[in-house]
């Protein structure tokens, strides 16, 4: 009964119902995308794009454009810029990524400090799912649904793109197109996740669920399912924790995700540390 009360008590507040819905939904979208990020090795790129979209989001806010548009332009633009710089100079990829994303993030911070109504922009950095306005909630749901639909429709093409782009090219599949498709989906997912955890922690949403799932299964469909389940569990549990501890929601969600990853690392059926030790041979 205590457990039931623990779960139902916060639901009398509309803001908690909204927060649970949004963070759960964000968990599902991020759970699916994170599988591709893990398998493509785009974790660092995901973090970079998440920071690089900041000025885009601020500008879109000031110009009253959809935040998704600003994020998309800066997200895809940042990756294009990284590629261009790498071609023009002798600087290695990881350095270029670091340069571009910190540069754009700094631009975002300067724009934030020069714009009135600073409070809203703190939400860009750290998320504010408990106070999410209905208009932004609708935007999150629309952008997230579109992203999720495209991810699932192109599931197999994107999987092939991650696994073996050479073969994809050999059978006449447009690999460059898939590259930019995944990049666009990444930028859109970041917009979706911004409300919940903010720019700084969004990379956790983009990689933790996939990493956890990767340890639990050797099948891609299984990975998708585990990833979504672990992201959902983290979003739900994290939001409740933040309510009871009166702590930052984004931080709580990411902490639960990290905890789930550690549990998988220890007890995963085949790849877990404890299983490996106890198995003979």
């Amino acid at each position: 009964m205590v457990m039931v009360d623990w779960l139902t008590a916060p639901l009398q507040y509309e803001f908690m119902v909204k927060a649970l819905l949004v963070s759960g939904f964000v968990g599902v979208v991020c759970g699916v995308l994170s599988c591709y990020m893990i398998l493509k090795g785009w974790a660092l790129l995901g973090d970079a794009v998440a920071h690089a979209v900041t000025p885009g989001v601020v500008l879109a806010y000031v110009l009253r454009l959809p935040l998704a548009l600003g994020a998309l332009v800066f997200g895809v633009g940042a990756v294009w810029l990284m590629g261009w710089i790498q071609k023009q100079t002798r600087i290695k990829e990881d350095t270029v990524i670091g340069l571009v994303f910190t540069g754009l993030f700094a631009l975002g911070l300067v724009l934030i400090s020069k714009t009135p109504s600073n409070v809203d922009f703190l939400h860009i950095l750290f998320g504010n799912v408990l106070g999410i306005p209905t208009s932004e909630m609708v935007q999150t749901l629309v952008v997230g649904t579109v992203t999720l639909a495209v991810l699932l429709l192109f599931k197999n093409d994107l999987l092939l793109f991650c696994f073996d782009p050479t073969h994809a090219r050999a059978i006449g599949i447009n690999v460059t197109g898939l590259h930019y498709l995944l990049l666009t989906l990444l930028s859109l997912t970041i917009v979706v996740a911004l409300q919940t955890v903010g720019v700084v922690l969004v990379v956790a949403m983009l990689i933790s669920p996939g990493a956890t799932a990767y340890l639990l299964t050797d099948r891609f469909d299984g990975m998708l399912i585990w990833s979504v389940l672990s992201a959902l569990a983290a979003s739900g549990l994290g939001t409740y924790l933040s309510y009871y501890l009166d702590a930052a929601t984004g931080g709580c969600i990411v902490l639960v995700q990290t905890l789930l990853f550690l549990l998988a690392m220890l007890w995963a059926p085949k790849h877990g540390l404890l299983r490996r030790v106890s198995r003979p041979g």
């Binding site: 197999n156 073969h167 059978i171």
Partner: protein
């Protein structure tokens, strides 16, 4: 009437950062032939494969696949390519049958949902390389030879008329190699054109109809019994092969 060559390479030159990798490459492979590509490491064998596949744009010259540019031949699924070392992540969560199914993607609609026909062809291809019992294995749990056979099965499932195989017998045991050669000869007999590179010189002369000797440019090209001579081996490898004729 002359047949359209399966692969026609016309006056191809490839450079990497001003270094010449290939120059003056000309040949036309007739349909239904098995052609061996022989040369030292660094002689441009893999570069030639990648150029035929359109992954490298040649500085001069053109490549034609059955009279079409490579991009169009690829869209039609005509060309299967097995790179020298698969640049794939072996920990990737895909099973043997998932990999072979990727050979069928070109035939599916854009949702890539396998039809019963695709499943049947995947099973047949796995059967042909004797990998059917391992179809549910995650690919990282395979031996080197089993990995090669999996990717060969994918090429079979693609039902391409032209197969480009870069060192397919690398890291493969003798028994598997013999089985793979049997399979390739059967494919050749059913009209496929196969370009295969190998560093196993004595082997390649026994099952190839034609041989291309390469070292940045073509040193010799022709029917195996005519060009597989000590002189050509000598020119290709720069060492003497007194007993290479057999």
């Amino acid at each position: 009437m002359p047949q359209t060559p399966s692969i026609a390479v016309e006056n191809v030159t490839v450079t990497y950062h001003d270094q010449v990798a290939l120059y003056g490459i000309n040949f036309a492979l007739p349909p239904g032939t098995m052609v061996g590509l022989v040369g030292m490491n660094g002689s441009g064998k893999s570069t030639l494969f990648k150029t035929i596949m359109g992954f490298i744009t040649p500085k001069t010259g053109r490549v034609w696949i059955e009279g079409l540019p490579i991009e169009q031949a690829q869209k039609r699924g005509w060309v299967a390519y097995m790179p020298q070392s698969e640049q794939v992540d072996w920990q990737f969560p895909v099973r043997v049958q998932d990999v072979v199914m990727m050979g069928r993607y070109g035939y599916m609609n854009w949702l890539r949902i396998p039809r019963p026909l695709d499943r049947r062809i995947v099973e047949m291809s796995l059967q042909q390389v004797d990998m059917l019992p391992l179809k549910d294995r995650q690919i990282g749990e395979l031996s080197g030879g089993q990995k090669k056979r999996t990717f060969l099965a994918r090429a079979l499932a693609q039902q391409a008329r032209i197969l480009l195989l870069d060192e397919p017998f690398n890291g493969v045991d003798m028994k598997t190699e013999r089985a793979m050669i049997q399979l390739l000869m059967h494919l050749r007999d059913t009209g496929h054109t196969i370009l295969v590179s190998s560093h196993d010189l004595s082997g390649i002369s026994t099952f190839c109809d034609q041989i291309i000797f390469i070292n940045q440019t073509i040193l010799a090209y022709g029917a195996t019994q005519e060009v597989f001579t000590p002189e050509n081996l000598n020119r290709t490898f720069g060492v003497t092969f007194p007993e290479a004729t057999s």
